[in-house]
Amino acid sequence: MAEQKKIEKQLSLPLKNAVQMSVRNMKVRFGRAIIITTSILLGIAFLTSVRAGNAFNMSLILNGPEEISSLLAVDIAEVNARQGWLVSLSLLVCIVGIINAMLMSVTERSKEIGTMKCLGALDKFIVELFLLESLAHGLIGSIAGAIIGVLTMTVVYLIQYGGLIFQIFPTVVIVKDVLFSILLGTFLAVVGALYPAYISAKMEPAEAIRREV
């Protein structure tokens, strides 16, 4: 009897339904989704462009003509350090932006969250919904950002060095950079959503419903 009761007591939110709900949420709150995605996009575009630029430089130094490579090799270490700072700062701003936007989304939806809890949603369902949404923002933003970053840098180097660029195009390094950026962007988006998701999951249903925004 006790065994049977355990089996009956299953609560579930199938992934398919969760994805559906997240997508719908993003459609309805499209403006916010755009803001979050854009913030990731910009951060990642910057990161990717810096890394792609470095890849081009390295490739020019190694494979390019003598006069260019000697010019470039001068203070590459110092430039890299400065760029590292800028990129870290931009990603930090980006993650703070995500946390802020997601927190706002939690406040805005507190009634909805409370209602779902009254209907039997577990804390983890709520976390799942928020993380899924953030995962989507992160993926879309960082894929777009990575592509934009690489394209921009290619155009910049094309203008500066002309067709030479295509002879020394560092394909492998750039593909690696793009993948790294996408992973990092998605990771940051999900990390940024963790705290807001936790807060929303821990809300008491009675209180969440009562709260007027």
Binding site: T115, G120, A121, L122, P205, I209
Partner: protein, 243 residues
């Protein structure tokens, strides 16, 4: 029908801390609600209605005393079991309807069934059936904001019935509705109460509700002032409507 108690509270007290001063909202409530009963909890604002209500609904735990739902002490339940209880045993209806705005009526009713582990197809069929039974068969694909207040509350009733709960808790279900629509909702609740033998507990100060209640519990300042049976109430309603 066997007279089983579905909800039992024993000496329930609840106090909140207002800064450093404790505020005693409930001062010892003993009630027993039977299966299939229609109960109204009445009382002025601040009498502790909503607090008691949250207690019965497993949304809040008492400071002292015990609440049994279906013979289970809710203080003993962990978060998972509480969620399960809310999902399968209790249906909630709110004054402000609280439908999920981004979902259609159909999906709103499906939601608790999905949580309860029903497959999407089964949930859809049952949800359609429930919406038909509350008179919204034509409007299943409308979003809440495209429905009138009365219709939204009907969706909420269908949603509350989704997992065949033993109890429906309705917190001021007619508070945001006009006289006529309110009456329709009350009649619908009564109908469902008779049809599905589900206990309905409403916290309200809508006097129209008295007419259909089996028992009325009057609350004042955190204690039960009196409990009245159906027969004694009807006269009062006449008075009120005569105003």
């Amino acid at each position: 029908m066997a007279k089983e108690a579905i909800v039992r509270t024993i000496g329930v007290k609840k106090s909140f801390m207002l800064g450093k001063v404790p505020l005693h909202v409930l001062k010892g409530i003993d009630i027993e609600i039977l299966k299939g009963e229609y109960i109204s909890i009445m009382g002025p604002s601040g009498s502790g209605k909503t607090t008691l209500f949250n207690m019965i609904g497993g949304l809040d735990k008492p400071s002292e005393g015990k609440v049994y739902i279906d013979e289970v002490d809710i203080a003993q339940l962990d978060a998972y079991e509480l969620a399960w209880l809310r999902c399968r045993k209790i249906g909630y209806i709110f004054q402000t309807f609280n439908l999920i705005p981004v979902m259609s009526a159909l999906e709103n009713v499906m939601l608790p069934m999905i949580f309860g582990g029903l497959s999407t197809d089964d949930a859809r069929n049952k949800s359609r059936m429930l919406l038909e039974s509350v008179g919204l068969g034509e409007r299943v694909n409308h979003k809440p904001l495209e429905l009138s207040g009365g219709q939204q509350q009907r969706v909420a009733i269908a949603r509350a019935l989704a997992n065949d709960p033993a109890i429906i808790l309705a917190d001021e279900p007619t508070g945001n509705l006009d006289l006529k629509t309110g009456k329709e909702i009350i009649n619908l609740l009564r109908e469902m109460n008779k049809e599905k033998c589900v206990s309905i507990i409403t916290a309200t100060h809508d006097l129209k509700m008295l007419d259909v209640s089996d028992r009325v519990i009057w609350l004042r300042d955190g204690i039960i002032e009196r409990v009245e049976d159906r027969e004694n109430i009807t006269i009062k309603v006449g008075e009120v409507e005569g105003e």
